[in-house]
């Protein structure tokens, strides 16, 4: 019986199809390695400790550390704002809303994903920042002792907190779409068992829906984090950046992100400055890869636990 598979006749269709599929797999690996090789080769001059980089007078690592901090801060804040909202929308659509409203609400949230990030940037500058600026003023006057709300308050509201709001709205569609799908896939038997035992709707969700959905929600959070970490135009347009590391969220001197710095500085960059920017891109690539690998690790471990 071990030879049975090798004796199945192969038609030309099989050979062509398996060839195409293998070629696609190889093509994606080739593209990924081409990008990685480009990043590494072009970054090497910037990693040289004796290099005299115009934009990085104190060396490359002193230049890129505030950028890494800003990238992670903006992305984590965006995730904090978007996750409860995405779970809420997903639960509302799958368990609370009447059928008709549910499908149109899902459609409207998906529409948010169709808006280009430049438009989000424009909306952020023209509408959101002037609106939240008085709120920041109030926060600073009343809660100024809390480090994130320390002054001086930005006069235009274009701070990293505003950027996190914009990023949260941008990652909301993908996170809520995934959450919605996962909640809809909860086994009906589990739900009905909980209800039959006398659980209220919220208790049923706590008992049957959320535990089942945990690894899926984690993967949607990782997707959202990946998108937030790489977002360029909206951050470049809205943020008022400075090369600082700080947790103050409402001041005009905010840590910038890697992607937006590359977008802002590349047009006028020449010589070693270009290499420094590409090296920063390599650092971002490594961060994103690390986030994805960690996420996959957690999800696989959860899946093994939940599987029966």
């Amino acid at each position: 019986m071990a030879n049975a598979r090798s004796q199945v006749p192969k038609k030309r269709g099989d050979v062509v199809f398996s060839g195409l599929v293998t070629a696609s797999g190889i093509a994606i690996l080739v593209t990924l390695s081409a990008v990685a090789i480009f990043l590494v080769v072009e970054s090497l001059p910037a990693f040289n400790p004796t290099a005299d980089i115009g934009n990085a007078p104190d060396g490359f690592w002193a230049y890129v550390t505030p950028l890494v901090f800003g990238t992670l801060l903006a992305a984590v804040l965006a995730l904090i704002f978007a996750t409860p909202l995405a779970i809420g929308i997903g639960l509302f659509i799958s368990h609370y809303a009447p059928r008709r409203i549910a499908s149109s609400l899902g459609y409207v949230v998906d529409l948010l994903a169709a808006i280009p990030s430049v438009v989000y940037g424009l909306w952020g500058i023209q509408v959101l920042a002037p609106t939240v600026q008085p709120i920041y003023q109030w926060l600073n006057e009343n809660l100024g002792w809390f480090p994130p709300f320390a002054g001086p308050v930005s006069g235009t509201g274009r701070t990293i907190l505003t950027v996190s709001f914009v990023l949260a709205i941008m990652i909301l569609p993908i996170m809520s779409a995934l959450a919605r799908e996962i909640f809809l896939q909860t086994p009906k038997l589990n739900e009905e068992a909980a209800l039959a035992l006398g659980a209220t709707r919220w208790e049923m969700i706590q008992l049957s829906v959320l535990p089942f959905a945990r690894s899926g929600l984690l993967s949607s959070a990782m997707l959202g984090l990946g998108r937030a970490v790489g977002e360029t135009m909206a951050v470049a347009m809205v943020l008022s950046p400075a090369a600082v590391i700080t947790f103050a969220l409402i001041t005009p001197t905010n840590p910038s992100t890697i992607a937006s710095t590359i977008a802002l500085d590349f047009p006028e960059a020449a010589g070693l400055n270009v290499n420094a920017l590409i090296a920063a891109g390599l650092v971002l690539f490594v961060i994103t890869m690390a986030v994805n690998i960690t996420a996959r690790g957690i999800i696989t471990r959860h899946a093994r636990k939940v599987a029966f």
Partner: protein, 353 residues
């Protein structure tokens, strides 16, 4: 019947074509594609120039990529484009690089084609005009003066009632030639205060950063008590401050901006075809506005490909002609390069081959 219709149709088409021919002005016989790249500050002027040039020479297509001065110079020196637009004149190291576009040993031409005043724009309720000395401007943008009712601003504006309002100083968050010229001006006129490095990056970590000229204008317009620096042609309705030049207060007037060039000294040790200028920022003459940005056109004196040389000659000659400068002034709001400067530039561009 169909034959008659067919005949009428043919006659109609032929007569339309002939009518078209009769209305055509004598067209130039230049053909080809011309590629350039460089400063985005001259972007709207380049668009106006390209439109006018292509209308006059309909066999030619000109492409200008406003990717930035640094990117433009690199593209030209590596041979990717035929000419570059740049806010900073070529550095000495770049001058010794040979571009694959040029015949070796013939060097580059560098002529000023775009002069734009940089306005210091202010948005304070009830303020329709304001005077600011260079030292005051430096202190504001360094974060040392934080309120509009400060004594230094009052000293520049005797008798004006300035409100008790926090100043929000907006600078460019992206690397830009506008920042470099602003920083250069303050380092020459208020050098003891403005001690940061003069480069495309704003040297201090205070104040708000906004991306692009439009970002700065937006930030100043949408805020209160805001001040920023940006290309004067994009300032719109915002109040532009008059800066102190010698004993006079001068606003960002186009003619005053153009008057800086004859007042300035050319960079030393440059070839005859290189008109790089060190702008006289600390000028004290009347009717001069030294806070300007000068954009140069850079190319080869002798192109390896003669066809490209002919096209660059035609385009560059148009840019340095009176018609070209008037076109830029009316479409992009720049100050026209005029007089002896323009004539010398026109002589250089006429010799391109």
């Amino acid at each position: 019947m169909f034959k008659a219709l067919h005949l009428t149709g043919v006659v109609a088409i032929v007569s339309l074509a002939l009518a078209g021919c009769a209305a055509e002005t004598p067209a130039s016989n230049l053909t080809g594609t011309l590629n350039g790249a460089g400063a985005s500050s001259a972007g709207s002027a380049q668009e106006a120039w390209i439109a006018a040039f292509q209308t006059a020479n309909d066999g030619v297509t000109v492409n200008y990529d406003p990717s930035g001065s640094g990117a433009g110079r690199e593209s030209f020196l590596s041979g990717a484009v035929a000419f570059a637009g740049t806010d900073s004149y070529l550095k000495d190291a770049e001058l010794t690089t040979e571009s694959p576009m040029c015949v070796p040993g013939t060097g580059f031409f560098e002529v000023p084609v775009y002069v734009s005043p940089i306005a210091v724009v202010v948005n304070v309720d009830g303020v329709d005009s304001i005077n600011l000395a260079p030292a005051t401007i430096a202190s504001i943008f360094k974060g040392e003066i934080t309120n509009w009712n400060d004594a230094a601003i009052a000293a520049d504006n005797p008798g004006a009632m300035l409100p008790d309002l926090t100043i929000t100083a907006v600078h460019r968050s992206d690397d830009s030639g506008t920042t470099k010229n602003f920083s250069n001006y303050l380092s020459k006129t208020a050098g003891d205060l403005w001690d940061g490095e003069v480069s495309d990056t704003f040297p201090y970590t205070v104040g708000e950063g906004a991306s692009g000229t439009s970002g700065v204008i937006d930030a100043v317009t949408n805020g209160t008590g805001t001040i920023g620096y940006a290309d004067a042609s994009k300032a719109g309705d915002l109040v532009a401050a008059a800066i102190k030049v010698g004993e006079f207060w001068q606003g960002p007037d186009a003619n005053a901006a153009a008057a800086v060039i004859p007042d300035s000294t050319p960079v030393a040790d440059r070839s005859d075809t290189d008109m790089a200028i060190d702008l006289k920022r600390d000028s004290t003459a009347a009717g001069v506005y030294p806070l300007v940005l000068v954009s140069y056109l850079v190319g080869c004196n002798d192109y390896d490909d003669d066809a490209v040389g002919v096209l660059v000659n035609a385009y560059a000659s148009y840019l340095t002609s009176e018609a070209g400068q008037t076109e830029a002034a009316s479409s992009a709001g720049s100050a026209p390069v005029s007089g002896a400067t323009r004539e010398r530039a026109a002589t250089i561009t006429a010799a391109i081959k």
